[in-house]
Each structure stands twice: as C-alpha cells, then as structure tokens.
C-alpha cells in the first residue's frame, strides 16, 4: 500500500461532528426527486402526474445521453411535477404507498457472473440501474460520456469534507456489496485505485485489503480528484473517473440484487441540529421531516451536501440523488461593532490574524455570514497556501477575469477539483469557486465534451 502526502490541506474544525449512531427515520407520505439539483443535467421527463411508479421505474433521463436514466426511489403515484424558472424540471413529488415494491431491472449477478461480463455490459447494467451519474469524469467533473471508458477509476473510501458519512458506518455489513461494486469497476477499466484516509476508522479487513493508497492530510486529501492529481504518472490519466465508496456499495447492491438501491446513509449535521448523527434514509426523503431534529426553525440555511461543496437547498426540498448530507446552519449572524479591531478569540480563521490562532479549540461553530465585503484581490497569497493541487487560484481568477483561458489551462487550471477551500479563505470574499465553475463549463463546451 502506497502512501500519499497531500500538501496544503486544512481542517476547518467545523462544529457538529456527527455521532457514530446510525438511526432509521420514520416513513413519510411524500418523497421527491429533484433533477435541478443534479449538475449539468438537462432532464427529459418520462412520467405524468397521477401515474403509478415502482422503485426503479424510469422518471426522466439526460437529454445529452439517453442511456443515463434516473429511477424512482419509492413506489406509489406521481403526485405533482414542479417546474422552476424557464420550465426547468424542479421536483417530482411521489406519494408513497409504503410498500417499496421493486421493479426488477435485470437478472441478479454474482461475483462470478460479473467477472464474465464485458466492460460495455457492466456499463450498460449500471446505466440501466440509474447509477451512471455517481461517476465524476475528470477533468471537467461531469457525468461521463458512456462511450468512452476511463484510463483509471479512483475510489475514495473516506470523505473529510465537513461533514459527510463516515466510512465505518456506511460500510457496516456492506462488504459483499462493496466487493461486487469494485469488481464491476475493475471490469470497466484496467486500473482501479482505492484510497483510504490515514486516520480511517474503517475496520472491515475485507475492504481494507483492496485499498491501494493511504491519503494523508486534512480536507480535501480524500477527494478523488486530489487522489488522481497526486497519483497520476502522465497526462493520459487526466480523464480518469472518480467515485465515492458509498456509491461503489450501491453499484454492488444494484448488480447483486437487480433492483434499484434506494437506501443510503446520510449525515444530518450543523450547528442547529440537536443531535448531529448518521441516518439511514430512502433517497428522496423530505428535508421537512427532519425539522424535529432542529433547535430552531427560523433563520436557517439548509445545505445539501458538505458545507463547502454542497448546494444551497431549502426546508421543502428532498434528499437528492448525489447527496449524502444535510446541514442546518445559522443564516448570517448578529452584527457587531468594530470587528476588525477586536482580539477575536472566537473567530475561526486559517491564518494568524485573530487571536483565535492561540486558542486550541476542538471545533468552531460557523454560520453563513460572509464575514467581510466583496473587494478586489489584494494578492494576500492565502489561496495558494490551501490549494491541494498546488496551483494558484488568484492568478487563474485574474486571467479568467481578463478573458484568458489558455494561460490558466497551461498552469494547471484543469487540475482544480473544486474543493472550495480557496473561496473559504479569501479575505476579499471573491467567489473563486463559481468563477472556476463557469470557466470549466466554458472550456468543456469549447472542447465539445
């Protein structure tokens, strides 16, 4: 097992670390699927209001890739179809019949039968099972195009973004599914790299013996893009794919059971949650049903996913396709006078400009306050200090602002894994993250991906 020391990582020490307890939730009547929350998706709807669906019925597919279908996580009837701006498909609300009748998608596979499949067949099965979008194709970080199989697949078992499910919880009792999933991945490409955090709490030896790399460092050392950056030997590996361990387990489950794996382990966390912990939920579970976990109901920010890369969500939304966490944060904070002349023992910060640098605190409570106004870049040099792929966000930003795309690409812009940590530290509060996202989309469009 090789060991990779990831440079420039940072531990946010965000409060509300989830408990290792993994509870189940009460069933509710209405579940939902939110196509708008799957990035880059142009959804084509396949169901009508009032139509009966089973677990695994096709709800919609991606217009760019018709094989990339998305399946219903519950059985029942389609209650309502909600549209957003410009008639973009927002939510499909399904009234559950609480039976969870599963539609058989294909014959059950075993480890041995997966072994006999061709690479294209495995890809076909995963697409039929609606799990194609769990893959991230680098360098554009999009759902892969099905025709091209990758040079390598990077599986990252742990996730160190605050806060996502811990590996020892979601791997509990799932080792066979993981191995089946891994087998399927190995069919699709020649090399599968499996990385595990240096401080992992995972004890499952059957899984650990497939691990090829240990990743040392804080966030985002366990991001599969970072893993790819440190492990690649030449430029041919740039178009590798990444996938998280829980998705590997779901792929395994899909193949061995032949039905859509609608259950997953999520984390409910954040400063406003009474008891941050893991929950086993069915995909599409309404966030509203988690309201009883909260200490207060007004002035909150709901984040679907980790606090750095997650999308902004609302209390009326649902646990969506690629989301493994729900955070409830305090929206904004009380204004105080002369913040910048205060000693600031209570202010979490990356550098040493507040006296909080002297405080050895385990965790910091954070809110969504911007903590400053938008300013021009003052070249303070904080962002390169936290960039895990050793690039220079401030130069990329300046070049991109001037309309130059070539220069950032030459300097490694496409290695960016959009971990968001540069945006977190920026004292000028520049939205580097969204600037880079837009630029990447533009490059992808020009490259015809």
């Amino acid at each position: 097992m090789k060991s990779i020391q990831v440079k420039n990582t940072y531990d946010l020490q965000l409060s509300g670390l989830p408990d290792t307890a993994c509870d189940t939730v009460d069933e509710t009547d209405f579940y939902g699927v939110s196509p708008s929350r799957i990035k880059e998706l142009k959804a084509k709807l396949l169901v009508k209001e009032g139509q009966a669906v089973k677990v695994g019925s096709c709800l919609f597919f991606d217009k760019k890739n018709e094989k990339n279908v998305f399946l219903s996580p519950v059985s029942g009837t389609v209650e309502k179809i909600e549209y957003g701006d410009r008639r973009a498909l927002q939510n499909i609300v399904i009234k559950s019949d609480k039976q969870f009748q599963k539609e058989t998608l294909f014959d059950k596979q075993t480890l041995a039968s997966i072994d006999k499949l061709e690479d294209k067949d495995v890809a076909d099965l995963i697409q039929k099972g609606g799990l194609w979008s769990v893959f991230t194709a680098y360098p554009f970080q999009m759902t892969p195009n099905s025709d091209l199989l990758p040079p390598a697949i990077y599986v990252s078992i742990d996730s160190d973004e605050p806060h996502l499910p811990q590996s020892q919880i979601f791997c509990e009792g799932e080792k066979d599914n993981f191995l089946a999933g891994l087998k399927a991945l190995k069919k699709m490409t020649s090399t599968v790299h499996v990385g595990v955090a240096d401080k992992t709490k995972l004890k499952e030896t059957k899984i650990l013996e497939h691990v090829t790399h240990r990743l040392k460092g804080h966030y985002p050392a366990n991001n599969h893009g970072v893993f790819l950056y440190y492990n690649k030997k030449d430029a041919s590996e740039n178009s590798s794919w990444g996938v998280s361990a829980q998705d590997v387990i779901r792929i395994g489950k899909l193949l061995t059971e032949g039905t859509y794996p609608n259950e997953k382990v999520i984390v409910v966390a954040g400063a406003l949650v009474k008891k941050p912990r893991h929950l086993k939920v069915v995909e599409g579970y309404p966030v509203k049903a988690l309201e009883k976990e909260l200490t207060k109901k007004a002035g909150l920010r709901v984040v679907a996913g980790g606090v750095l890369t997650g999308q902004r969500s609302s209390i009326d939304s649902f646990i969506s396709y690629n989301e493994y966490a729900v955070h409830f944060l305090q929206e904004g904070k009380e204004q105080e006078m002369f913040t910048f002349f205060r000693p600031g023992f209570d202010k979490p910060t990356f550098g040493r400009t507040y006296l909080s640098a002297l405080v050895k605190k385990e965790e910091w409570e954070m809110n969504t306050c911007l903590n400053g106004g938008h300013r021009a870049c003052i070249a303070c040099g904080e962002c390169p200090k936290v960039c895990p792929v050793e690039s220079h966000p401030q130069f990329f930003m300046k070049d991109l602002e001037a309309g130059d795309i070539e220069k950032p690409i030459e300097q490694g812009f496409l290695d960016c894994v959009s971990c968001g940590i540069c945006t977190y530290v920026c004292p000028s509060k520049i939205e580097l993250d969204s600037i880079f996202y837009d630029a990447r989309q533009k490059i992808a469009k020009e490259a015809g991906v």
């Binding site: 606090v307 750095l308 002349f341 969504t368 969204s434 490059i443």
Partner: protein
C-alpha cells in the same frame, strides 16, 4: 450602538440600487462596514467563510505602523527642540511633535479619502481598506517640515495615478504611498531633500551652535576618502545606538529601527507581511554592502567602506523593507518570487544609495522599480512551475 445600527439599516433603501442616493452607496457602505460587521451572507456553495477580511488584514498593518508613528511624533518634536536648545522633557517634546506630525497625517487621510470616495462613487465600487494603510504610510515617509499643501498634492497624485487609474486597490501595480512620495520628491525637491528634516522653530540665530540638520546619509555620502565614513559620522554626532533607537533627523516614521522591528514582529507573527520579502531584502542589502566594503579600497567614495550594521540602521532601509516592500498588491503574487523580489530590492536600493550622489536614499526608487518588474518575476516563476506539472490540457 443599537440605535446607530438601526439608523443605518433604516436608511439603507436610499442607497441601494434604484434608491434616491444610489450613487452614494460606496460612502454608505464604507461607513457602515467600518462600524459594523457585514450582514451579507454567502449565496451558493462554500457556505461558510473564514473570519479574515481585508479590513482586518489592513488594520493589522495599521497596528504594526503605530509604534513607528508614535515614535515619529516624539522624534519630530525632539529634533525640533534640540535644534533650538529647548527643553527635552517628554511632554513638551511630544506636544511639539504632535503639532508637526498630526496635521500631515490628517491631510493625508482627508485628501486621500476624498479622492478615493470620489472615484469609488464614479465607478460604483466599494471603498477599499487599502487606503487606511496608504494614508498613514505616506506621511511617515515625509519630513516633518513638509508644507501641508504639498503633502496634499502628493497624496492626491498617489491615489489617482498610483491606484485609481488602474481600477482601485488590488489592481494597481505601484505602491500608492511610494508613488505619492516619489511625486513630491521630484516635484518639490527643495522641500524633500537637503536639510529639511527638522523644523526650526524661531529665528536662525536661535540655532544651537554645532547643530546641523543633515542626516547620517548625507554625511556619509559626502565623506571623501581617505577619511572613513564611520569617523565622519561620529564626528557629525551620529552614534550607532542613536541611529538604531532613532533619535536622528530623518523622515517622520523611518528613523527608529527598534520601532520598525516591533512592527515587523507584528506583521510576521500574524502572517500579514511576507517574511520572504523581508529576508530577501535583508540578504540583498547585506551582501551588496559587504561587496562594497571589499571594493572600498579602490575608490574615493568613503560611503563604500561603511560597515553593514551602519548601512542597515541609518536611513530608511528598515522602514522600507518592512512596510513598503511587503505591500502585497504591488509585490509578486507567488511566495517564491517574493524572495527574489525582496533580494533585488535590497541590492538595487543599496546600489542607488551608495553610488548615486543625486539621490540621498535608494529604497523608494528600488521598490518602485521592482514593483514594475513584479509581474515579470511572477511570469517566470509560473512558467517554471507549470513545466514541473503533469500537463492537463485539451
């Protein structure tokens, strides 16, 4: 406090887009955010943010500058009293010093902020905190005798040409405080060089016998071999200790190495000032002054032979290195190029100081010159770095 906040919040709609005084928004934002922390929240991903903002960043520099400013007030008064033989007690000295220095600082802030506010209103972007630093740095580089109107012309020029023509703080490539100083230095040479460092209060005949307003630099630069520069300095009444403590004539803030070191300590411990720039500058200055010492035998300029310790403690070397060279906006952006940048500043500044009799001090010109070259250093270093990467291009 609550009342004040309510007043601000109640009147916000006037200044928002489409409001009655929307043009005045930068002014409103500047005052509001000066008094209270922002209530703005993140819009989309990266939902939490670091507590550091540019205000904090710049106020750290202000804190680091305070010892220099306070000592500058003391020294301006001290020199003025010494020249005419008045009492050297602390309180009268401080009062005289405050009379001399505070108007300069006030003029610098008022005129500079006026220009800054005006251009922000024209362009409609927020007032940047960078000016808080510029506004204090600039008067500290002036002699205490500087006429106020000249200081005002200088800072207005510095803010407009050094900064606003390029789009405001963060987009400028020259240090605005130094641009302002360079402008007054060339525009009003009579008020910026020669024996202008001490305010002579009263008539000429009151001047104490044997007193001269010349700086150590002027003495050292005019010394001719075979006399040693050190001896000349000591004859003129300069001791190494005085130069380090700072009770010598010179620009307001630059004289005291001790106070600058306190500021450097604050900048380094908070990580606001780049240690690479400072170390580079130190290495550059030391190596070139040692080199000069080695060649001092063959020249008539006694300044060549001045020991390194003296070179580092006289003039504005320490102040320029710690506060001017480390300005992040006009420095290169990469940490590795900051070392080269600092080193070249040290080398160039020392060369200009010692070999060019037309300029009494070299750091202002050296830093401005290196400001211009900073993007080039960055470019070279970035090229080198991207060659080491595994290419990721389409």
């Amino acid at each position: 406090m609550k009342i004040l906040k309510d007043i601000f919040n109640k009147n916000e709609h006037y200044f928002e887009k489409g409001g009655k005084y929307a043009n005045w928004y930068p002014m409103y934002e500047a005052f509001y955010s000066f008094l209270f922390s922002t209530k703005e929240t993140t819009k989309t991903s990266v939902h939490v943010r670091d507590s550091l903002d540019t205000k904090r960043y710049m106020s750290i520099v202000l804190i680091a500058l305070t010892p220099c400013a306070l000592f500058g007030i003391f020294n301006a008064g001290f020199q003025a009293h010494k020249a005419v033989g008045e009492s050297l007690d602390l309180i009268p000295v401080l009062l005289t010093g405050a009379q001399l220095v505070l108007p300069l600082i006030a003029v610098s802030y008022i005129v500079g902020l006026g220009v800054e506010f005006f251009s922000c209103m024209v362009r409609g972007h927020e007032v940047n905190e960078g000016f808080l630093v510029t506004g204090l740095l600039y008067p500290l580089t002036l002699p205490a005798t500087m006429p106020l109107w000249q200081a005002a012309v200088g800072i207005a020029f510095g803010v407009v040409v050094g900064k606003e023509v390029f789009g405001g703080s963060g987009r400028n490539f020259l240090n605005p405080a130094l641009t302002a100083r360079a402008f007054v230095f060339f525009a009003y040479p009579a008020q910026m060089s020669g024996e202008v460092w001490t305010k002579v209060m009263g008539a000429k005949d009151q001047i104490v016998e044997g007193w001269s307003g010349a700086t150590a630099l002027a003495v050292a630069a005019t010394t001719e071999a075979p006399q040693k520069a050190v001896d000349a300095l000591q004859d003129a009444g300069f001791s190494l200790m005085d130069s380090i403590v700072g009770i010598v004539p010179g620009s307001i803030g630059e004289t005291s190495v001790v106070m600058v070191l306190i500021g450097a300590f604050i900048l380094l411990i908070t990580g606001v000032g780049s240690w690479r720039t400072m170390l580079g500058s130190l290495l550059g200055a030391v190596s070139i002054s040692i080199l000069f010492n080695l060649f001092s035998g063959g020249t008539t300029i006694a300044f060549f032979g001045l020991p390194t310790v003296w070179q580092l403690s006289i003039g504005s070397y320490a102040f320029a290195t710690v506060f001017m060279a480390t300005d992040p906006v006009s420095s290169p952006g990469l940490e590795s190029s900051r070392f080269i940048y600092g080193f070249l500043i040290g080398v160039l500044g020392m060369i200009i100081r010692v070999t060019n009799p037309a300029y009494p001090e070299g750091w202002m010109l050296a830093i401005l010159l290196m400001n211009v070259f900073a993007p080039l250093i960055d470019h070279v270093m970035l090229e080198r770095k991207s060659k080491k990467r595994i290419p990721n291009v389409i």
